[in-house]
């Protein structure tokens, strides 16, 4: 297929998505719009974790930490100054955080950049580690961030968290950021640098022997992943309008890890599909935890039931279908064209 056709098809697809979102904004109820929003945010988070783990082979469990950084930075930048003064009741907010203000786009960008900075900072000590040690060290980092955010009351308002974050993160912003994340990460992966990352994932010693500066590549990949995790956190903060340190616990990282594993490690399409499937399931299975009336029966919801099901799904997938639900398949217009030709019964044109 010619490059020009692909560009046109891509533009068409984007246009269709934009039209759909416009329609959704006007016609769907708030709950459905919220789910659509969450899908976009989760897709950003899953793509960033997939870049770090699925494509570079660094098992990171620190996503909640980066999200916390992004969410707090962005929230402090968009909450109006007067509201900040009222909200910080334990200790007054200190300068310069009390006066800093930025437009939404800039605040999200800032959230991502600060998260990326922290990513680089912790990359120095922890990226020398491999495999599971890296996992536990990054998990430790996320926990440290959470504890610090609980304690620096004059910046983060401590355990009370930030309330009333302006809800700027609508469908437009979320899908714009999601699209940018998708675009940037696929561009990175299809570049030579992306090949270096995959080489490191498959065999680090061999990659080093080929002259790849593995530490630098890993650090950059980690920082880019941290950037988008920060962006995801910032959007999520504005989406649900309330954040507190407790929210950014290991459970949050677990949910994203699950999207990546269910969708398929090292598959961009997988992460997108995984984000849709898991987000919808997470919301849909909420009925298990709420009270329901079926006829004359009152079904009392059981807290924790959702996570029981989700952890079982994760176990089944990791044991029986390690490549994820769509099995490492990547979406491309060529494969769509091949499929059409096959359906028509024509000769497949490579």
């Amino acid at each position: 297929m010619q490059k020009k056709t692909k560009v046109i098809l891509n533009l068409l697809l984007t246009l269709m998505l934009a039209l759909f979102l416009r329609w959704a904004q006007g016609n769907l109820d708030g709950y459905k719009i919220q789910i659509l929003n969450l899908i976009a945010v989760n897709a950003i988070l899953a793509l960033s974790l997939n870049l770090i783990y699925g494509f570079t082979g660094m098992f990171s469990l620190g996503h909640a930490g980066f999200m916390a950084i992004g969410a707090y930075v962005s929230a402090i930048l968009i909450i109006p100054t007067a509201q900040k003064e009222i909200m910080y009741i334990l200790e007054p907010i200190i300068w310069p955080f009390s006066v800093l203000q930025a437009p939404f786009f800039v605040s999200v960008l800032a959230g991502g950049l600060v998260a990326a900075l922290f990513g680089l900072l912790i990359a120095l000590p922890v990226l020398r580690l491999g495999g599971d040690y890296l996992g536990i060290a990054t998990l430790g980092f996320a926990e440290i961030i959470r504890v610090i955010f609980t304690n620096i009351t004059s910046v983060t308002n401590g355990a009370l968290g930030l309330k009333g974050i302006p809800p700027y993160a609508n469908l437009g912003w979320n899908y714009l950021w999601c699209g940018m994340t998708y675009f940037i990460i696929t561009k990175i992966l299809s570049s030579n640098f992306g090949n270096c990352l995959k080489a490191i994932r498959d065999d680090e010693v061999a990659a080093k022997a080929m002259g790849i500066n593995t530490f630098k590549c890993r650090a950059i990949s980690f920082a880019v992943g941290a950037f988008f995790a920060g962006v995801g956190g910032a959007l999520m903060g504005s989406l649900i309008t309330t954040i507190d340190p407790k929210m950014f616990n290991f459970q949050l990282t677990f949910n994203i890890l699950m999207i990546v594993v269910v969708g398929g490690l090292g598959s961009i399409t997988g992460s997108m599909v995984g984000a849709v499937v898991i987000t919808v399931l997470l919301e849909w299975l909420r009925f298990l935890e709420g009270t329901m009336e079926i006829g004359s029966f009152v079904f009392v919801g059981i807290p924790g039931m959702r996570m029981v099901i989700f952890s079982l799904v994760l176990l089944l997938i990791i044991i029986y279908r390690r490549e994820g639900i769509i099995g490492g398949y990547e979406f491309s217009w060529d494969s769509v064209a091949r499929l059409f030709q096959k359906l028509k019964g024509g000769r497949v044109n490579e």
Partner: protein
């Protein structure tokens, strides 16, 4: 700080430290053999407290019987987890088993939440162990003497088993080279199951003593002790049983003493262990007693 206070802090640190040590042994043994961080270990620890609670309050069993039954049941659960969630992944990349372990951990926590609710259950008190004894101005719980003694006895028994009995020899052989051990005719899977059983039994002992010391049982009580015990295992040198115990004691002392001397830092308590972890991994990733092994790091 007065001398009396210091003595009390030392006893608190010994209690906490030996409990960390007992849990850490389970991590270190499994890691030594399979190179797997058994994320579910902290939850195994938690569930033993629930076992004792139900055996005592529902079945009205005497303490000693309840404790033995709970330890046996927890050991069985540990073996079961290995059989279901880890054994099918022996040949898979190591991280797959780790993700599986995280899955098991969330499963156990949430199934407990579903079955027993999130409301903390009060551990039945054993008056003999929680009546304060007074030496001059020093007030000590008998538990604070009892816990370290039991812990050291258990570790001594484990070390005897490791170094003087055939299964212990097999365990040490597997941690050197699993394939060669298999070729020598050792039933490797059975020994691994035994390792999980022993580690879980020690975690159960720790869980029961933990619940006596901090008498609130809830589904997430194992999360932080689990992380911290793993850090203790890394601190002591992963793969080494003595190291795990030393690391546990060291971590217990660090946590208690920092807060004793700098009370203003108490809000950061849960972060000490993680800061320590990142520092050790940076300075001496093999830990205090760990041997140099290339593929461990």
């Amino acid at each position: 700080m007065s001398f009396d206070m210091l003595i009390q802090h030392i006893f608190n640190a010994l209690t906490l430290g030996s409990l960390y040590g007992l849990i850490a042994i389970g991590y270190t043994m499994v890691y030594g053999i399979l190179r797997l961080i058994n994320f579910a270990h902290g939850d195994i620890f938690m569930i033993s407290a629930y076992f004792v609670f139900f055996l005592i309050t529902l079945l009205k069993l005497p303490w000693i019987v309840a404790v033995i039954l709970a330890i046996a049941a927890t050991a069985f659960l540990g073996v079961l987890v290995d059989r279901i969630a880890y054994r099918p992944l022996r040949e898979a990349p190591r991280i797959s088993a780790l993700i599986s372990a995280i899955g098991v951990s969330f499963f156990i926590e949430n199934i407990c939440l579903v079955l027993f609710s999130g409301v903390p259950k009060p551990m039945p008190r054993l008056n003999m162990l929680v009546t304060v004894i007074q030496f001059g101005n020093i007030r000590i719980l008998p538990l604070a003497i009892f816990v370290p003694i039991i812990s050291f006895l258990l570790v001594a028994a484990l070390l005897w088993m490791l170094y003087k009995t055939p299964p212990g020899l097999a365990m040490r052989a597997i941690s050197e080279d699993i394939e060669a051990t298999r070729l020598m005719g050792v039933k490797v899977d059975r020994i691994i199951a035994l390792t999980f059983g022993l580690g879980s039994a020690l975690a159960a002992a720790a869980g029961i003593m933990w619940a006596l010391r901090y008498p609130q049982i809830h589904p997430f009580m194992g999360v932080f002790p689990g992380f911290k015990a793993f850090i203790a295992a890394v601190l002591g040198g992963i793969g080494s049983v003595q190291g795990a115990m030393i690391g546990g004691l060291l971590l217990g002392f660090i946590e208690i003493m920092i807060i004793a001397f700098f009370p203003e830092l108490s809000g950061y308590r849960d972060a000490f262990a993680f800061v320590l972890l990142i520092m050790i991994l940076f300075v001496k990733p093999t830990g205090l007693l760990g041997e140099k092994l290339e593929d461990k790091i």
